[in-house]
């Protein structure tokens, strides 16, 4: 895809009648390894769309682009804000994106307290992804707070195995950087 074609696709994101098709194409491109930094910028307003389904797709793309190691000015505050979204899949995607960004050493302490709050989320996939993201911040960036330790220990008895193992993963990496309860 040429730069001009990509720009046209991104401008389609901004219009109601072309947004769905644009998101679909961007999902396909990102699965193929797209690392165009402009996509991140154009997605920012879509993260606040009133439709939860649209926010899910936009936040998923943020996670996937982070996984693709897109080098750009990443909107960390926007992602931290999404950790409070009403929709659980959006919260999960935001935690996923924050965790993926640590591969590029992108992240900050401002994510930790909202991630801690998600450790008590009613949806298991959100709890698990939040624990994983906390673990990734410790593992990849050496960042962590003692305030994560208690809630993570509580998750060692979670009814879902993936949540328990995600908590174990996070606690092990926090311990490795000297953060213990």
């Amino acid at each position: 895809m040429s730069p001009d074609e990509m720009l046209e696709l991104l401008e389609d994101l901004l219009a109601d009648d072309t947004r769905e098709r644009s998101l679909e194409e961007l999902e396909r491109l990102s699965r193929e390894g797209c690392a165009d930094a402009r996509v991140v910028t154009y997605l920012i307003p879509i993260l606040h769309h009133p439709d939860a389904g649209t926010r899910r797709r936009a936040s998923w793309l943020m996670g996937k682009l982070a996984q693709n190691k897109v080098s750009t000015f990443w909107p960390l505050e926007e992602l931290n804000g999404l950790l409070h979204d009403d929709d659980p899949e959006v919260r999960e995607n935001a935690a996923w994106a924050i965790g993926e960004l640590t591969s590029m050493k992108v992240g900050g302490l401002g994510s930790i307290e909202p991630l801690n709050a998600l450790l008590a989320d009613g949806v298991p996939s959100v709890r698990g992804m939040a624990a994983w993201a906390i673990g990734r911040m410790a593992e990849r960036m050496g960042l962590g707070f003692q305030s994560s330790v208690g809630p993570l220990r509580a998750l060692l008895d979670d009814r879902y195995e993936t949540v328990r193992l995600s908590a174990r993963y996070a606690l092990d990496h926090l311990m490795a950087i000297g953060v213990e309860g």
Binding site: Q67, W96, E100, P124, T162, Y169
Partner: protein, 62 residues
């Protein structure tokens, strides 16, 4: 991570035609948390039962 694990798992929404898992989040958790290094291919007999990211693929209307 659905709690609805009672139904038989026939075909996962994320199981691509070439056998790969197309759920990027599931692959990440499997690599980091479940320590399944180089996990990419999904095998129904091996992976469906324990996978909390399983989503039944909808049957297309006839």
């Amino acid at each position: 991570m659905s709690g609805e694990a009672q139904k038989p798992k026939v075909r996962c929404l994320w199981h691509a035609a070439d056998g790969r898992c197309s759920n990027c989040k599931a692959r990440r958790i499997r690599n980091d948390v479940l320590k399944m290094k180089d996990y990419e291919m999904c095998v129904r007999e091996r992976d469906y039962e324990g996978c909390e990211f399983f989503v039944e693929r909808p049957v297309p209307p006839k």
